[in-house]
């Protein structure tokens, strides 16, 4: 079954082509990873999928429905969840409050102005289950800024899972993590229910080739290669682009 399909997406910012004629589809259970050098338009593409940006032209279909002009929160109610590249939690609120916001998000209870958030027993059980998986239940009363960066990244993903999504967009889930924490996050993604479709943007090659069953390579907003991890590894165009990046990295490192 098709989870998401995009057709001929275009988006530019003041003459700069951020997304240029991008089309692809991901089916239920798919694990698509989008890679590409910095400035390749990965974030823009993510924002187009998610609804944070509207395309100049082209269409986005979610579970077969045209959602091109549907706002973010409505896409969330259709089963799309998204994590953010820069940790996007609620810093002044506690770990548990963060989780409860995510759990109420798709339920009618989110509008209830009189009943206490923490009196919803079944949601509290669910919060305990999700936070225990991350070893964060004991820190549930801590404010977000009091927990470690690695814990924040894991919570970032856990908030997406709270809504039992059918499509999960993960924006650089391994950014800024130590290698140990990275393994933890990879494990978490690998253990996601099989029926969920997942789209990941990341730079970490272990994560990319470890998790993907399909890879798209973006360059200057265009798809220059699409295929299985093996096909991508063998693709000369990809090598060319990435050799360029390695050059740049070396230069950047020399500064």
């Amino acid at each position: 079954m098709e989870a998401i399909r995009v057709e001929r997406l275009f988006k530019s910012f003041g003459g700069v082509r951020a997304t240029h004629d991008v089309s692809f589809r991901v089916d239920a259970g798919g694990r698509l990873v989008i890679i590409g050098p910095n400035g390749a338009g990965k974030s823009t593409l993510f924002n187009l999928l998610n609804g944070q940006l509207m395309p100049d032209s082209g269409k986005v279909f979610l579970f077969g429905e045209d959602v091109t002009h549907l706002p973010l929160h409505k896409r969330a109610h259709m089963g799309m969840a998204r994590s953010f590249q820069l940790t996007s939690l609620f810093p002044e609120l506690s770990v548990l409050q963060n989780m409860m916001l995510a759990l109420h998000g798709l339920r009618r209870s989110r509008f209830n102005p009189l009943r206490a958030t923490l009196s919803y027993g079944s949601l509290l059980d669910k919060a305990e289950e999700l936070l225990s998986l991350l070893d964060l239940w004991s820190k549930r009363e801590d404010q977000i800024r009091m927990i470690s960066y690695g814990e924040q990244r894991k919570l970032e993903i856990a908030l997406c899972l709270a809504s039992n999504p059918r499509l999960l967009l993960l924006d650089e889930p391994s950014a800024g993590l130590t290698s140990g924490e990275r393994t933890g996050v990879m494990e978490m993604i690998r253990n996601l229910p099989a029926h969920i479709a997942v789209i990941i943007v990341d730079h970490d090659m272990d994560l990319v080739f470890g998790l993907a069953n399909r890879i798209i390579v973006l360059h200057y907003g265009q798809i220059i290669a699409e295929g299985t991890p093996d096909e991508i590894q063998a693709d000369p165009k990809v090598k060319e682009v990435y050799m360029g990046i390695e050059e740049e990295r070396r230069h950047a490192g020399a500064h």
Partner: protein, 336 residues
């Protein structure tokens, strides 16, 4: 630290902050008994404190909790005051049970209209638009003499008529207790709101709008509802004020009142539920003392007070009071 005890309780309650009832009982007892021995001038000061405390808490719903910097909150206070006054004096609607709902409805409709306009922008532009809308009402109230009695204000508003001779609110002391009851009911409702999924969503919007959208929250709708609810509570305080003062003036709709109530919230602390009421208490108290001692110097004193409050107590006085109280209690009783 402070939550070490609540961590040991069983699951369903774990995670709630151990909200003790003791401070509320003490505060309520003081507010109930104290007026019996207060000289009449200070009784009126205390009445004003509760009225403006409610007003400041209503602003806090949008300003402190949702993060909307509204500089037009006087509009709802004044609008409800005017409508109640006009209903009673001009149209002879004596019953409080009709005139007050009309006032609250008026405040709600005003907020509903203003919200559609102001919520199209955010940040400092929201501040400017709400400010401008308040000034607009202020100038209408000044010019529309036939309805509002113009510049000097709408006068002759009697004490509320509750329709029961037992509940005659003619005396200042009785009116004080009436205000106390209304304040307590509103406080209770706002505290429920604060703990609810709806109230938590407002906090989430203050912290990170984009994430709230991604989690499925219609951010605009939440802001809009919060704006109207805040306007209604402000309306309640405006009605209490109109009855108390016997009049309502154009300035109540505009900048002077909106800025004063914002100062109350900032001074008392936007982060807590009751902080703004504390800020209101301080400002009303000092204002009345200053008007006795150095009547012409009030704006200067207010300015100095505000600078001290902002520089010396980051985040308002409220949170500092909590910290001090916790330290006192925890060093007295259990460990750490």
């Amino acid at each position: 630290m402070s939550s070490s005890t609540s961590l040991q309780t069983q699951k369903p309650l774990a995670g709630t902050r151990s909200a003790s009832a003791a401070p509320y009982v003490i505060a309520a007892a003081l507010l109930l008994v104290f007026p019996l021995v207060l000289p009449s001038y200070y009784l009126s000061v205390l009445t004003m404190i509760l009225i403006f405390g409610l007003f400041a808490m209503s602003l806090n719903i949008i300003f402190g909790h949702t993060g909307l910097n509204s500089l037009g909150h006087g509009a709802f206070f004044g609008m409800a005051g005017y409508i109640t006054g006009i209903a009673i004096v001009t149209y002879g609607i004596r019953s409080f049970w009709t005139s007050a709902p009309l006032g609250i409805l008026g405040a709600a409709i005003t907020a509903a209209v203003f919200g559609i306009i102001a919520l199209r922008v955010s940040g400092v532009y929201f501040l400017l638009v709400t400010f401008a809308l308040g000034q607009l009402l202020w100038s209408i109230a000044e010019k529309w003499y036939s309805v509002t009695m113009g510049r000097s204000g709408f006068v002759g508003i009697p004490a509320p008529d509750l329709g029961l001779s037992l509940l005659n609110l003619g005396s200042p002391l009785r009116y004080y207790y009436f205000v106390f009851v209304v304040f307590a009911i509103c406080y209770y409702l706002m505290s429920r709101l604060h703990e609810s999924p709806f109230g938590n969503a407002l906090l989430g919007i203050r912290e990170r709008e984009s994430r709230m959208r991604a989690l499925g929250y219609n951010v605009w709708l939440y802001k809009y509802i919060a704006y109207i609810v805040a306007g209604m509570f402000a309306g309640v305080s405006g009605i209490l004020y109109a009855h108390f003062n016997g009049s309502i003036a154009p300035s109540h709709l505009g900048f002077a009142t909106s800025a004063l109530v914002m100062l109350m919230v900032i001074l008392g602390g936007a982060g807590t539920l009751w902080g703004p009421a504390l800020g209101a208490a301080l400002i009303v108290l000092i204002q009345s003392l200053a008007s006795l001692v150095v009547p012409a110097r009030w704006p200067m004193i207010l300015g100095i007070l505000f600078v001290i409050g902002v520089m010396g107590f980051r985040g308002g006085i409220g949170p500092h009071v909590i910290k001090t109280a916790r330290r006192m209690f925890s060093s007295g009783s259990n460990q750490s």
